[in-house]
Symmetry: C2
Subunit: 202 residues, 2 copies
Amino acid sequence: MGALEEIQYKPIPVRTLLVEMKDLSELMIDLAYSSALFHNTDLARDVLELEKKVDNLALLLKMNVMIAARDAKDAKDLLGVSLVSSAADKISDAAADIAYIVLHGIGIHPAVREAFKRVEEQLGRFIVKRDSILSGKSLRELRLASRIGVDIIAIRRGNEWIINPKGGDMILEGDILIVRGTSLGIEELGRLAEGNLRKLED
Amino acid sequence: MGALEEIQYKPIPVRTLLVEMKDLSELMIDLAYSSALFHNTDLARDVLELEKKVDNLALLLKMNVMIAARDAKDAKDLLGVSLVSSAADKISDAAADIAYIVLHGIGIHPAVREAFKRVEEQLGRFIVKRDSILSGKSLRELRLASRIGVDIIAIRRGNEWIINPKGGDMILEGDILIVRGTSLGIEELGRLAEGNLRKLED
């Protein structure tokens, strides 16, 4: 084992932690399937990074649950939270299992391709370049879903991840966008992020 | 531990086993969320039953993978299958964690409700009674999606489960239908299965 970060207790509502764990674990499954189908090592690395985040959230949640429970009734009420947190943790481990296939050059067996092929919509992953017209705009302004049929399902900004971003969220230079949509829409978004396509039709 | 069934080797293509494991594990997550949100113990019991099925499929898959691999190259090719199978197994365990909440009367903490509330469409679970007009008809004939906005995502027939049934699949008396759709459509399907509603508008 390498040097591990010390876990730091922070008082965070269990609700916030649980919602984040669940959303992250579901995003990870999508990223993992997509990384396997399209042999995308960047997506696979994102999955492993997110797995560490989920592990960390699980520990924070455990501590906050301990502190929140003052008596037997609280403890019973919080048992459900603890079980759902452990479920999200297992789902994130499952996503990591799949990411390993891609990162260890194992190759996608036809049986795996068959199992994942129901994933109809493709995912894309793009870095927003300096010249991109996306930079500095909010999702509400861009209206990407109605204009090019693409949904931004996550924004990675350095070490931070914004999952299911809202209309008010901004896109900034250097952001990594994880998007879902038709292959045509994704290709268009890639050119917008790159700065090669400089306008967005209505 | 009670009396456990002895595991019986059957030669089944790994592709078939893997696709079934993945489909079952994903169905289980949907059933588990729904069982928790609507405190539905029948759905929770279905989840635990399906977990046993997935465990069994995982063992069968392990044996078939062993037999399929004759040399190092095969073994490496089949490693991906093994990792995806272990992923599906973890996802099914996660679903079982959630089902336990419902079956052990733990109560749904507001944080859990918050985490699951994104599940927009409701699930329903209905037994097809003798008088139901659904009985003896194929899904293609019924066209439930276009007529009442409801999708049949699984049919349980005794111990057998048909996951993502196709147009040619028939509904029989005694089947348990797991359906997804709007609350209105689900309510209507319930009355059709019960035999209280005897016609389907176009």
